[in-house]
Amino acid sequence: MLDVTGLTAAYGPVRALDGVDLHVEAGSITAVLGANGAGKTTLLRAISGMLRPRAGSVRLAGRDVTGRAPEDLVRRGVSHVPEGRGVIVELTVDENLRLGGLWRRDRGWLRDGPARMYELFPPLAARRSRRAETLSGGERQMLAIARSLMSKPTLLLLDEPSLGLAPRTTAEIVATLLQLRDDTGLTLLLVEQNAQTALSVADRAVVLNLGRKVEDDTADRLAADDRVRHAYLGL
């Protein structure tokens, strides 16, 4: 459902993505791996509209969405949980959640949606009226994901969801996402430095190095390939 062709993006003179191709099947979980600076975050930003690519195209369910603004991508079913989570600390948990669903103009969903999110992520329910500032790292990650889910996306982009989290928290979040995928057919594109976690969860994986795609295979095969593991994944 997502087709990226020859995507090239740069920050000024620095080329962060160089002709990357990617194909993501609906309902699958794809991991994007690679060292720091490989271009993983840039890839997500170019897909979600935060960064305008210099060349190449992004097609969503067959329609060309290259270079469109993030607000438009959201309305087409793409939701991006950015690096650092982007939780709005001055707002309460409840306000953060509602914000994610406002564009739909659906009063019913604005009522039921947060309730559903509190079921999915119980720790958030206890803090619903507290300012997001008071949340721990794991709770913030849950809030960021829940907030993105409020827009009922078909494609969820996650940038380093396990960063700074305890393994158990990560496992809980991963389990919730897998459940969602099974229940709703949600497609996940996941950027991770922690290759081990990512490969254990993903169906397919793509490895980036210095802006170029160097590997694209099923997760099992990549996990088993020693050369790949040593060279790019630090395993």
């Binding site: 603004a69 993030p70 509602r98 914000l99 994610g100």
Partner: protein, 292 residues
């Protein structure tokens, strides 16, 4: 004692007006991180528009509504056309653009209306209330000014806190990039922010007009004191605008009454420096750096 009461009441009235202008500046600062030096010019234009309505036979209330609506439109247009190109640039570019706009508006007003100050009718009586034998320096019209400003502040607080528009505007101000990822049309929110701010400013202009008369340069001092009040309260704090405005109004009233009206500007400077030395970001300004 009576003199003190008089000065306090007068200070409250002028303080309410400074608070309104400070609030307009705070709204713009929060949404676009720009200080709008043209605020005085914009409210001057809307007050002239209100004056035109009245001089053609309209009622005070009609003129008030027209002023606020035209302020809303003016603010939105200014943001979309003039400010959008400089929003992402260094702050001094916006200073020059808003200063240029101020001069332009004063020139246009001078061309259309001329420089002679026009008188503007007050909403209510300007004869002070009686307190025993003494006639206070506080009239029904002054009470009206204070009540309107308080009412507007409450209304805006409600809008920001309880409505989805307010939520989107706050989010756009705190975290524009993330808000866009959540489908919020941030550009539109910035325009609305300016429109609301200009509407508040227009209201302040109509409130001050009876005492200052209406001319292209009549409102300059109010921008200066409004900005001072906003800085004292903290540029990103609407309650700060209220406190700063009223506080400054009171302080200047006492300076004017006890020391002399010619050093009022100096008094403002002293109050400002005193506050900033203790709290460099204003009384309620947020500290440096947001933890995300």
């Amino acid at each position: 004692m009576l003199r003190f009461l008089d000065l306090t009441l007068a200070g409250l009235t002028s303080g309410a007006v400074y608070a309104a202008i400070a609030l307009a500046l705070v709204l713009i600062w929060r949404s676009t991180r720009i200080v709008n030096f043209a605020q005085g010019g914009m409210l001057m234009i809307t007050t002239f528009i209100a004056y035109t309505v009245i001089s053609h036979g309209g009622s005070y209330w009609l003129a008030l509504v027209v002023a606020v609506l035209s302020g809303f439109v003016l603010g939105g247009v200014v943001e979309r056309v003039l400010i959008r190109p400089v929003e992402k640039r260094p702050p001094l570019d916006a200073v020059v653009v808003t200063f240029g706009l101020l001069v332009l508006l004063q020139g246009l007003a001078g061309m259309i209306f001329g420089g002679t100050p026009r008188s503007y009718p007050p909403a209510f009586s300007i004869i002070g209330f009686r307190a025993g034998d003494h006639r206070l320096l506080f009239a029904p019209n002054d009470l009206w000014v204070v009540l309107v400003v308080c009412g507007v502040m409450v209304l805006l607080a409600v809008v920001f806190r309880w409505t989805s528009l307010g939520l989107r505007m706050r989010a756009s101000a705190f975290a524009p990039e993330v808000s866009r990822l959540l489908g919020v049309r941030v550009g539109r929110m910035l325009t609305v922010g300016w429109a609301l701010a200009a509407a508040v400013g227009a209201l302040a202009g109509v409130l001050i007009a009876p005492s200052t008369f209406v001319s292209p340069t009549a409102f300059d001092a109010f921008l200066v004191f409004g900005f001072t009040a906003a800085v004292i309260g903290g540029l990103d704090s609407p309650p700060g605008a209220l406190v700063g405005g009223v506080g400054l109004g009171l302080a200047l009233s006492y300076v004017s009454g006890y020391i002399g009206s010619d050093v009022v500007a100096l008094g403002a400077l002293v109050v400002l420096i005193a506050v900033l030395m203790v709290r460099p970001r204003g009384l309620f300004g947020s500290p440096v750096g947001r933890r995300v």
